[in-house]
């Protein structure tokens, strides 16, 4: 269980996040939607413990987050894998750190099985530069799975992929999450509404500058259907309409506020 209480975050006296209250249950697949620069990646970094909030508190399973957190592993859009190590070495590095008692052989076998899980069997000895973008993200996911943390933080992981690979990887992550049940929580940052609808069991929408939560929608039916059937469901169609509308009304509200301030200052 992740609890965020009244999180504020500012950087260089610019408010990036404001009053974020968010509870995430174990086993949820939470998609954070928002336009670029709305602070959704920042929230991910706060959850990971890579940054400290300016105000408020984040607790994971009751413990406050202070510094890079053992409960979390991260996949970034690019440059998650260390290019100077083979894919296999990227995994064994993480595994050795996570399981200091396991010997070389056990760790290697484990790494190979994780690569197998993401459909990368046989690429143990290859350098990331030799892999395609999709394969690289698969390997990054394998490394994240290899660490014993229950929370997987993904920062627009498929943003740079071509549509085919993107769909394949969405499938992979969705299946991994489904098979892990309550043991794995995924928090997935994206600006693609359909991606969020397909993957997320819950959707949170952020407003821009400063980032606030402007919508929080459950998406319980997402695991019941495959892709084509899912997007035919009226609930999903309704969300497809609703989320852009939420963006629009938030934007109009902010524009109105800004002109109010301007007019008020003028008088």
């Amino acid at each position: 269980m992740i609890e965020c209480r009244h999180i504020d975050f500012s950087y260089d006296s610019k408010t990036i996040l404001q009053g974020i209250d968010l509870n995430i249950e174990n086993g949820e697949f939470l998609c954070i939607l928002g336009q670029s620069g709305c602070g959704k990646s920042t929230l991910l970094r706060l959850l990971a413990g890579l940054e400290r909030p300016s105000a408020g508190e984040i607790r994971i399973d009751g413990e406050p987050v202070a510094g890079p957190d053992r409960h979390c592993s991260v996949v970034f859009q690019d440059y998650s894998l260390f290019p100077w190590m083979t894919t296999g070495a990227n995994l064994t590095l993480a595994l050795h750190a996570a399981y200091p008692d396991k010997n070389r052989k056990e760790v290697k076998a484990l790494a190979e099985s994780y690569l197998e899980t993401v459909g990368l069997g046989g690429s143990f000895g290859q350098y990331p530069e030799a892999l395609s973008g999709g394969m690289r993200q698969r390997a990054a996911i394998a490394r994240a799975l290899a660490s014993p943390s229950g929370i997987l933080l993904m920062d627009e992981p498929f943003g740079a992929l071509d549509p085919v690979n993107r769909a394949l990887l969405q499938e992979l992550v969705r299946n991994l999450h489904r098979d892990a049940g309550k043991r794995r929580t995924v928090i997935f940052v994206t600006h693609d509404i359909d991606e969020a609808l397909y993957l997320g069991t819950r959707l949170v929408v952020f407003s821009s500058s400063p980032g606030r939560i402007i919508a929080d929608e459950g998406n319980r039916i997402s695991r019941r259907y495959d892709r084509t059937a899912l997007f035919r469901q009226p609930e999903i169609k309704a969300l497809q309409q609703k989320i852009p509308a939420v963006y629009r009304s938030d934007m109009l509200e902010r524009l109105a506020k800004r002109s109010e301030v301007r007019n008020g200052g003028g008088i």
Partner: protein
């Protein structure tokens, strides 16, 4: 170019034969032969041309030199001994020069090694801390800009032996390029890689040797290659001033006696040594950065 090489080589062969310089005549034919083999082996057209072009230039220089100094005796034989004499002298002096190389390698190796061992850890420490970086910048700017040659007389006065003085001077020449490039190498490691590494909870030593060091390696190697060139420059400069043996001393000593044959031989030998050293360095660089082979080859 192929025909030009053949013509010049034959001309040199004839000129050497005419003067009864048999080893030079042999060389005149051996060089195009070797070149042909190398050009055959070269995969790319560019490389093939480069091999032939450089052989042509060497043959042309040798031909002009041979004609001017031996066949027509236009040049002063003291300043420009004929190529055949240099060739013979080179092999005669090889033993002495190798001994000089040994002494120079000791100086170069210890000073350059010391520079790597100090500059790389210092550079990584400074590169990974914003505060240290801000503190170190003015020093590296001012100290790095001073040409280390100016330290030589003072170092000789200050330090107990010529050996320690030259090690200090070579060290100070190699240190800054390695240090500055290591710092910038660490700074340019993408943030998401460092964040990924932080999430893995690595031990400090693992973080240093498997993340920071290899992450900064491309830039470290750039600095190390600059440092090596500077080291060699300073080594020979130091030896010209105070040594009693070594490659720089060899050249300086014989030019004091106006023995320009040995001076030329010494210079050629230094050229060969530096070239081999840089060749080895490039091999090492390729090996260390082999993970980038796919994009850079």
């Amino acid at each position: 170019m192929k025909y030009l090489l053949a013509v010049i080589s034959l001309a040199l062969f004839a000129a050497a034969l005419g003067n009864r310089d048999y080893p030079l005549a042999l060389l005149a034919l051996a060089l195009p032969a070797v070149t042909t083999v190398r050009a055959r082996l070269a995969r790319r057209e560019e490389k093939r041309n480069a091999v032939i072009d450089s052989a042509t230039v060497i043959e042309a220089v040798l031909l002009v030199w041979q004609l001017a100094s031996a066949n027509f005796r236009l040049a002063d034989p003291v300043l420009f001994p004929p190529p055949a004499a240099i060739l013979a002298l080179f092999f005669a002096e090889l033993g002495d020069m190798l001994r000089g190389l040994l002494s120079s390698s000791y100086l170069l190796g210890s000073a350059y090694g010391l520079a790597l061992v100090t500059a790389i850890p210092a550079g990584i420490a400074v590169g990974s801390s914003r505060r240290l970086r801000a503190a170190a910048e003015p020093f590296s700017r001012v100290l790095g800009a001073i040409p280390p040659i100016v330290y030589i007389p003072y170092a000789i006065a200050l330090l107990p032996s010529f050996r320690s003085a030259s090690i200090f001077v070579i060290w100070s020449g190699a240190f800054w390029p390695v240090f500055v490039n290591t710092v910038s190498g660490v700074v340019t490691i993408p943030d998401s890689l460092l964040d990924s590494a932080r999430m893995l909870h690595l031990k400090r030593s693992v973080f240093f040797f498997r993340i920071l060091l290899p992450g900064a390696m491309p830039s470290i190697l750039t600095g190390a290659s600059l440092g090596l060139i500077f080291s060699f420059l300073l080594l020979t400069a130091a030896e010209l001033i105070g040594a009693t043996e070594g490659l720089g001393w060899y050249v300086k000593n014989f030019s004091d006696f106006a023995d320009y044959g040995r001076v030329i031989v010494g210079i050629l030998f230094i050229g060969i040594v530096v070239t081999s050293l840089m060749w080895l360095f490039n091999k090492l660089e390729r090996r260390l950065l082999r993970y980038r082979r796919n994009i850079h080859d």
